[in-house]
Subunit: 321 residues, 2 copies
């Protein structure tokens, strides 16, 4: 009897795998190294092996797997199930991931981008589990996002909806890796926050971060928030703009799908209350006065498990449930 | 046998009413004066009378009306069916419109804001009738908007989603009537376009529009586009910023729900190709290079009928169809 859902979260270093029951309770989980330099067949073989290993831990086999979901970074044609390429993984090129995983695991497979999948995870059993409308952001190298409206993930006509990190909020502003100028990602991702600090120091700004840059050759976002705690004025200026950009992003998101909750995730939320309070403060400064807004801005709760939970939920969706 | 849907489009001067069959073909239409100074009961009585009049034209009566839909400006609690107030209509204050219209017409009633209703009209039988994902803007005194994602109108957790005119695109920019700064509405509505021209002339800008201002005491958006056609440099500067603001709005909308079509409506589209071409040009300038975008930016096709068509579609929705 098929009673499990597998959630597969593909990253550049590790592939996380989890088995869930139909109430989305985690039964067991594990991870395998990606070995990014190997080819698609080998990697998908290791994924299948990891899922079978978990099924064996439960005393069963593939016949007990009802469906699986896979989350990967893009670019991909998620509707067609084809992953065009993966950063740092030369062996992945136009791979029909959905079909290959389905053949390996002999079950229906759902496939979506890692941000949508993490969003779905938080929606199913994390920070958004008690609402129908939420927007999710993950602050890392870039800004990933997912939008749940009336209980459903917004995918867009070509599966590329919810790319909110590339909303332009400072026209003609900083160059973004996507080719646009002034994207929120170009200001407020962990990488952009660190990059702005480095640029200011290179332009001669005085800061306790200069010693870090001189010693390590680079500054991390974590460094910036640590020096903010130490009272560094440049760190304050940099993180204020990060919070302002994210506050304006929250205003724009509220006016679009009117979520009940806006959830931030990703490594950068390790900066804690100083980040969250800053976003809330700038949101309050920028939002209209026409009506009182009650949207809750908060951090994600599932940590590193959001991807496997959301991927398992994708599997459930692939069953039409 | 109930075979008609009534669409009711409430404006400050006129109330438009249309009868439709279940395939959304217009059977007949009419309009009555709003007489804004009268009270809610009188106005709703006139609406009911107009609908009954149309039914009689078809040789029938109220028993042949299956459902009705009503579109009004806000603010309102559209879920609860209560209109809080209407500009220039002091008699409308916390009126349970949905219940009152339902009692008067003895049928289920759908109720939503005028921009959502016009969006629905264009989606059902206008510029978006062949797509599942569209975003709609109406450029007038303000910028109204509606979002259709995967065939459904996005309403948000409290019925106030799709207020895209209040997305901030120029932080710390012009003051908007909503209390925010830098909303797209504060730059690119018909009123804001005209207001920006007047401000520049008052600051001393040289323009052929100055004679209009001196003569009429005000400049309209239509004047600005007419003087653009006449080669006036200020009119060019003003309309370029309008087009840029709307182009950036299109970029942000594309990254959000990834519509197949973005539809502009409202009095301002009377400016024609020069407006549409400007929006498309700025969109092309601002959009990312990661992938080729095929979204079509176009004008609405239903004109003044969009409201009654969309309202009738709301009625159909109220029947669960």
């Amino acid at each position: 009897m098929s009673k499990y859902l597998a959630g597969i979260d593909v990253g550049g270093t590790n592939i996380k795998v989890g088995l869930f029951d139909f109430d989305m309770n985690l039964v067991c989980k594990g991870s395998v190294e990606t070995f990014a330099e190997t080819g698609a067949e080998e990697i998908i073989g290791r994924i299948a092996g990891a899922v079978e290993g978990l099924l064996e831990q439960c005393g069963g086999g593939l016949s007990e797997l009802a469906a699986a979901g896979v989350g990967t970074p893009g670019p991909a044609d998620y509707k067609a199930g084809i992953l065009y390429s993966l950063a740092n993984m030369p062996g992945f090129k136009d791979v029909p991931v959905k079909r290959m995983v389905g053949e390996a695991l002999q079950c229906p497979v759902g496939f979506d981008n890692d941000a949508n999948v993490a969003c779905l995870g938080e929606f199913v059993s994390g920070a958004g589990s008690d609402v129908d409308d939420m927007v999710f952001f993950t602050l890392g190298t870039g800004i990933g996002a997912g939008v749940i409206s009336d209980g459903k993930l917004i995918r867009g006509c070509g599966g590329n909806g919810g790319e909110l990190g590339h909303m332009i909020i400072f026209p003609d502003g900083r160059q973004c890796g996507c080719g646009q100028r002034g994207c929120v990602e170009a200001y407020a991702s962990a990488s952009s926050t660190a990059a702005r600090a480095m640029e200011e120091i290179e332009k001669g700004a005085s800061s306790s971060l200069k010693a870090v840059l001189d010693e390590k050759g680079a500054i991390s976002c974590k460094d910036v928030y640590e020096h903010l705690a130490g009272g560094d004025p440049l760190a304050k200026e940099i993180t204020e703009l990060t919070a302002k950009a994210l506050g304006i992003l929250c205003v724009n998101v509220l006016h679009f799908t009117e979520p009940e909750r806006i959830v931030f995730a990703g490594g950068m939320i390790g900066s804690g209350d100083v980040l969250l309070d800053g976003i809330k403060r700038h949101f309050a400064d920028q939002i209209w006065e026409l009506k009182q807004e009650t949207v809750e801005i908060c951090f994600a709760t599932l940590g590193g498990d959001a991807g496997i939970v959301g991927a398992a939920a994708l599997g459930k969706e692939a069953l039409g449930l």
